[in-house]
C-alpha cells in the first residue's frame, strides 16, 4: 500500500522542481518541501519520536503544520491536531481521548502540560535522509452536531486512496480559506499533494479573496457553506468567475447555488463526503437543480439506498445510505460502540438518508437522526427548510421536531430574515402549507440568527427550544 508521502516522493522523482506549495511572497518545490519534511523528521526522531509514538500537533502555521504532519507520517507514528480554534478544554479532551502519551510537537500550550515537548524545527547542518516506506496515520476529529467527538483514524495509505477520487487536483492550484488545522483542510491538502497539485496558503491577516486568487493564480477554492453564503452576500466579488469553487457539505440549498452561480462563479461544485470515507459524490457545474442533488457517487465507490433492515430500495425511494469504498477507516478510535453502529456488515453507514435518481445522481435528505415521523409521515428538515428559503423574505431556515406523545414528531421551524425584510409569521405558515401540505411546520418563529456551532454547522436540535421559548416569552 502506497502512502501519501511515498506518492509525494515518487512525484518528486519525476519532477522535483515543480511548485508544490506557495503563499504570498513564497514558493516551495517538491524537492524543497521534502527536504524540510526530512529535516523535521530527523529532529523529531532525535527526540525519541518513533513508530510507537502518539503525537499531538499544535503548529498553527499552515505550511509548518503540513511539514510536521508529513514528517510524523514518515516516522510511522500517529498524530492528532490540537487545533488553536478549539478551546483548551476541548484540546485537553482530545489529547486524553487520543492517548497522547508521548510528545507534543511544536508550540507550547497549557492543555498539554505534563507531556513532553519537542521543538521540531531542524537545526542547521543536521543529516537528513529519505523517510521510511511504512507510514503512520492521523486521527481526525470530526465535529458532530450531536456534541460528541469522534476520532477517525486514517493511515497514510487510506489518505492516498481517498486522494485518488480527486484526479482534478493533479493540475490544480488549490486554495482553502479554512486553516489546515481543520480536518477537512488537512485531508484535502494531503490529497492535493498526493495527486501532484499545488497547495496555495492564505496570506497573514485580512485579504481579498478575489484579488488573492488572481495574485496566486488559484484554480480551485474549497469552501464551506458559510463561506459560500458570505461570498454571495459580498457585493462586487468579480474576477473569480473562471475559478472552480468546491463547497463541502451536502446541504447547499438550490437558491444559494443559483445566486452563487450568478454572483460568484459558474464553476460551482457541491461535494458530499465524510471524514470516515472521504469524498462520496460531487455535483459539478450543470448538475445543479431544484432537487439539490450532490451528483453521482465517485467511480470506485459502491453506494446503496436501503431500508431499516438493509434491503436495497429501488431508485426514487428514500432510505438509509450505506457505502463501501477503498480508503475508508476501519472504525472510530477507542469507540467500539459507535464503530459497531456505523460500520455494519462490511458497509459504512454515514447516518444519512437519501435517494438515488434513475440517472444515478444522489439526493441527500438529511441525517437519519433528524428525520421526523408525524403520525407515520416521514419528513426531513431539509424539505421544510428549502421551501421556507424560497420565500423572498427568508435568508435561512432550520426545522426540527417537537416531540409529542400522540403524534410522534411535530415539525416546527425557525427562520432568519434577509436584511431589511419583514414578514408575518402567518404568511410564512401559509406559504409552507401551500407547498408542503401535511409536511409543513406547525409553528414558525422568526429569530435574529439560526442556531449554529462554532464551525457554522446548523444546530437543529436547538430549534424546538427556540420555538417553545417564543411561545412562553422566554
Amino acid at each position: 500500500m502506497t502512502g501519501a508521502l511515498a506518492r509525494l516522493y515518487r512525484l518528486c522523482d519525476e519532477d522535483g522542481g515543480r511548485e508544490v506549495a506557495c503563499g504570498r511572497g513564497w514558493s516551495l518545490t517538491r524537492a524543497e518541501l521534502l527536504q524540510r519534511v526530512e529535516a523535521a523528521a530527523a529532529a523529531c526522531a532525535a527526540s525519541g519520536i518513533g513508530p510507537q509514538s502518539r503525537v499531538g500537533l499544535t503548529v498553527t502555521d499552515e505550511l509548518d503544520n503540513l511539514i510536521a504532519s508529513l514528517a510524523l507520517l514518515g516516522l510511522g507514528c500517529w498524530h492528532v491536531i490540537l487545533a488553536s480554534h478549539d478551546t483548551p478544554e476541548l484540546r485537553r479532551e482530545i489529547a486524553t481521548r487520543a492517548e497522547l502519551d508521548t510528545v507534543v510537537v511544536g508550540g507550547r500550550d497549557p492543555t498539554t502540560a505534563g507531556l513532553r515537548f519537542v521543538d521540531w524545527q531542524m537545526q542547521p547542518g543536521a543529516n537528513t535522509s529519505r523517510l521510511a516506506s511504512v507510514e503512520g496515520g492521523t486521527l481526525l476529529r470530526t465535529s458532530g452536531t450531536t456534541g460528541t467527538i469522534n476520532l477517525v483514524p486514517l493511515d497514510s495509505a487510506d489518505i492516498a486512496l481517498q486522494a485518488e477520487r480527486h484526479p482534478g487536483y493533479a493540475g490544480s492550484r488549490l486554495f482553502r480559506p479554512a486553516s489546515i488545522e481543520h480536518n477537512n483542510s488537512k485531508r484535502h491538502r494531503l490529497y492535493c499533494l498526493a495527486m501532484g497539485g499545488t497547495n496555495v496558503f492564505r496570506p497573514a491577516g485580512p485579504y481579498d479573496l478575489a484579488a488573492f486568487c488572481l495574485e496566486a493564480r488559484v484554480s480551485a477554492v474549497d469552501i464551506t457553506l458559510m463561506h459560500a453564503a458570505d461570498l454571495v452576500a459580498a457585493a462586487g466579488t468579480i474576477g473569480v468567475r473562471t475559478v472552480d469553487f468546491i463547497v463541502s457539505g451536502s446541504e447547499m440549498p438550490y437558491p444559494l447555488r443559483r445566486r452563487f452561480e450568478d454572483n460568484v462563479s459558474r464553476r460551482l461544485h457541491v461535494r458530499y463526503g465524510s471524514t470516515e470515507c472521504g469524498t462520496i459524490s460531487i455535483a459539478d457545474p450543470g448538475e445543479h437543480d431544484e432537487a439539490e442533488s450532490v451528483g453521482r457517487p465517485v467511480p470506485g465507490l459502491r453506494l446503496e439506498i436501503v431500508d431499516e433492515r438493509g434491503r436495497p430500495l429501488p431508485d426514487g425511494e428514500t432510505g438509509h445510505i450505506r457505502l463501501q469504498v477503498p480508503g475508508m477507516t476501519a472504525g472510530y478510535f477507542n469507540d467500539p460502540e459507535q464503530t459497531s453502529r456505523r460500520f455494519r456488515d462490511g458497509w459504512f453507514w454515514p447516518g444519512d438518508m437519501g435517494m438515488l435518481r434513475p440517472d444515478g445522481s444522489l439526493i441527500v435528505k438529511g441525517r437519519a437522526d433528524d428525520m421526523m415521523n408525524l403520525n407515520g409521515i416521514n419528513i426531513f428538515p431539509i424539505e421544510i427548510e428549502s421551501v421556507l428559503e424560497r420565500h423572498p423574505a427568508v435568508a435561512a431556515a432550520a426545522a426540527a421536531a417537537t416531540k409529542s406523545s400522540v403524534h410522534g414528531d411535530i415539525p416546527v421551524a425557525v427562520v432568519e430574515l434577509r436584511a431589511g425584510h419583514t414578514v408575518e409569521v402567518r404568511e410564512l405558515m401559509d406559504f409552507a402549507r401551500q407547498q408542503l401540505a401535511l409536511r409543513a411546520p406547525r409553528r414558525i418563529v422568526i429569530v435574529a440568527s439560526l442556531p449554529r456551532n462554532a464551525q457554522g454547522k446548523l444546530l437543529r436540535r436547538a430549534v424546538p427550544e427556540l420555538v417553545n421559548n417564543a411561545r412562553t416569552g422566554k
Binding site: 403520525n375 417537537t402 400522540v406 403524534h407 411535530i410 401535511l438 406547525r442
Partner: protein, 87 residues
Amino acid sequence: MTATELRQVIADALVYASVPLFAGSRAEAEFREGERDLPMAELEIDSLAAMELCIAIELNTDISLTPADVVAMPSLDALVQRLVAAS
C-alpha cells in the same frame, strides 16, 4: 391560557385545516368572540382536521389529546372548558 385565547387557538387550527363549514364563516367569527358554541357533529371534522386541532392544542398548551378525544367532545365550547380545567 384563558378561554378566549383557547378559542383563538382552536379557530386558527380549524382554519389551518380548512374545515369547510368553519373557515371564513360567520360561525367562525362568532365562536372567536365567545358568542356561539358549535356542536362537533355539525363541523364534520375529518381525521386530518382532528389531528391539526390536537397539534395546535399541544403546541400551545402542552396538553396532549388524541384525535379521538377531540372528536368525542360534544362541542367546541366543551373542548375549551376541558382545556381550561386541565391547564
